[in-house]
Amino acid sequence: MNHVRCDVAIVGSGAGGGTVAQALARLVADGHRVVVLEQGARLTDSEFTGIETEMADALYDEGGGFLTEEGTLTLAFGRTYGGSTAVYTGTSLVAPARVIDGWGVPGLEHNDVVRRSQRYADENNVHPLPPEEINDNNRLFREGCLEAGYRAEQFPVNVRGCHGASLCNLGCPNGAKQGTDRVQLPAAERRGVEVVTHAEVLRIEERCVVVRVSEPEPGAPGERSAWAPGEYRLSAGIVVAAGGSVGSTALLLRSGFGSTLTRLGKGFTCHPALILVGEHENEITNDVGHPKSYFLDRAIEERFVLETCMYFPFVTAKNLTGFGSDHSALMQAFRRLQMILVLACDRAVPENRISVDRTGRPRVHYRFTAEVREALAAANRAAAHIFFAAGAVRVHAPLADPPLLGRSEAGSIDKRIRAESFLPGKTSVTAAHLMGGCGMGSDATDSVTDAWGRVHGVPWLRVADSSLFPDSLEINPYLTVMALADRAAEAVLGEAGELLAKAQGGHS
């Protein structure tokens, strides 16, 4: 076991960890050592090939197919330098007041979240794409919404010099997406923050993290770690858990914090999502151009959000319902497919939670509530109306039985698409907005941290990622994670003198 000392250890390098790393870089100027521990690899620019199977393995935990305990939902989350900010589409929305206010976290004000979100939106070049960069897949969604009586809104995205490769979910091969891998982490490193990749944090002990650094898998892309392979005890005056909803929660659980923090692992939500496709008579531009330019927010009225999307052949095949000749025929129409992602705005319920097994591996327990099933059905119906209004000749809706609807059936959408058709284990459901597990609140009876990410009763331990959300955010979470991480970093900076002095005392 190697023994290493630092002042601040940040576990994770995504929207939370990257933001904290940059904000705490000023401590380095004061002579402190700040280390970021990232479990995944750091790819060189040329290693972002855009090839689906290669990049899924290189950039996602379990290739993007982490299965829940019930086996009815797959979770996609990044495991690479930059975390999920390297593999999402860059959509950047500010949290609505009704959600932040509804969380009821003492000390968390919506206007503060807005102010910080806007700062990071500016820093990461968030802006709406100009009309000439919008492809047919997105344009048809906007037009279909208008025709069907809905108002689509445009996503601001965090790109700079986007080529329209449409490969955002496989890591931008052109470095255009401005995630923490392109903005906050490089800035932190320039100021002396150390980033150690291939570093799996096994557990947290008293002002210390135990880390296993590995060699890259043979043939896998990515640079070697800055540290030699082996196990390390990294002493740290302050530890910031920023490994995401599943990662941070599992880390705290396997470190034994669940015995005093009874809310640890609770409150997991994820915006469970389905893909629908509409088939047009002619080819459309779908696999070129930014994939996600518009959304339809029906969270208040019907508990769902629709987003444009475009996936790759394997992911598309996996997310359509069924198989055999009907499925193949739809895949053969790939160039004519318009695609919509539907997301349910789920709510935190007691049975949906994160735990760990005997080896410390995360387990996610998720059951679809009646409300989520109804929301997904309503979202399927709305998406089907939009497809036909946009001119589609056939629609594949997972909650229609059978799933294919011809144009002549457009009038019977509301009868054909029903929540009862949702069959867990058969219907492909995925989620990429993983939230909760270390929720914020008043004290240890209702939460894991306070509004600044301070873990109740453990002053040297902080949380700075989407696990802080006490309930679903109902929008894409990236900017809100950065805003909350910025708050956590501010609290650390304000208390660093005292915390690090205590740590020094403990070490002397």
């Binding site: 009309p131 052109n174 047009h280 459309i284 052949p313 198989f323 284990g425």
Partner: protein, 157 residues
């Protein structure tokens, strides 16, 4: 050499892949090797319990095929295989539905995870984005037999 997950169940696995993706019946030996390597790669990253479950499920479906239809999966005609799988994906047993879903995921990576599988459905994703697409289209326009029918960027469908 360590045995791979699918090695001992290769024949029924290939029969299942064809049941899920009928076009897989035409895959060459090299294409099968490439596709199965992708499936093995996907399984390699999963816990050992899942690897064992996959192997068990394939064997169990092979036996079920014999009991229900009188033939092992590899000797069952493809349409009958697809019907058998369709009945199982609608099973009242969650475990069975999950199993079929998992196997179809493996089948899809065998077929659509390969370069040829992506090309077969017309996928044209390219890191060059719009510029690469424009270059490809100008090439298509001079290729005899090309439809050249792509809706242009921003144009009406």
């Amino acid at each position: 050499m360590n045995e791979t997950v699918l090695q001992s169940v290769r024949d029924p696995f290939r029969a299942l892949v064809v049941g899920f993706v009928p076009e897989a019946a035409d895959l060459s030996a090299e294409a099968w090797d490439e596709g199965e390597a992708l499936a093995e790669g996907m399984l390699a990253g999963r816990p050992a319990t899942i690897q064992r479950q996959v192997r068990f499920l394939i064997r169990a479906l092979d036996v079920l095929s014999f009991l229900r239809r009188g033939h092992r999966l590899a000797r069952l005609d493809p349409e009958a295989r697809t019907r058998l799988l369709a009945s199982l994906q609608d099973s009242r047993l969650l475990l069975m539905r999950r199993g079929v879903w998992g196997l179809r995921t493996l089948a899809f990576v065998v077929y659509y995870g390969r370069d040829e599988g992506r090309a077969a459905v017309g996928y044209r994703g390219n890191p060059g984005g719009w510029i690469a697409r424009a270059a490809a289209r100008s090439g298509e326009a001079t290729t005899p037999g090309s439809s050249g029918s792509s809706v242009s960027h921003g144009a009406a469908t």
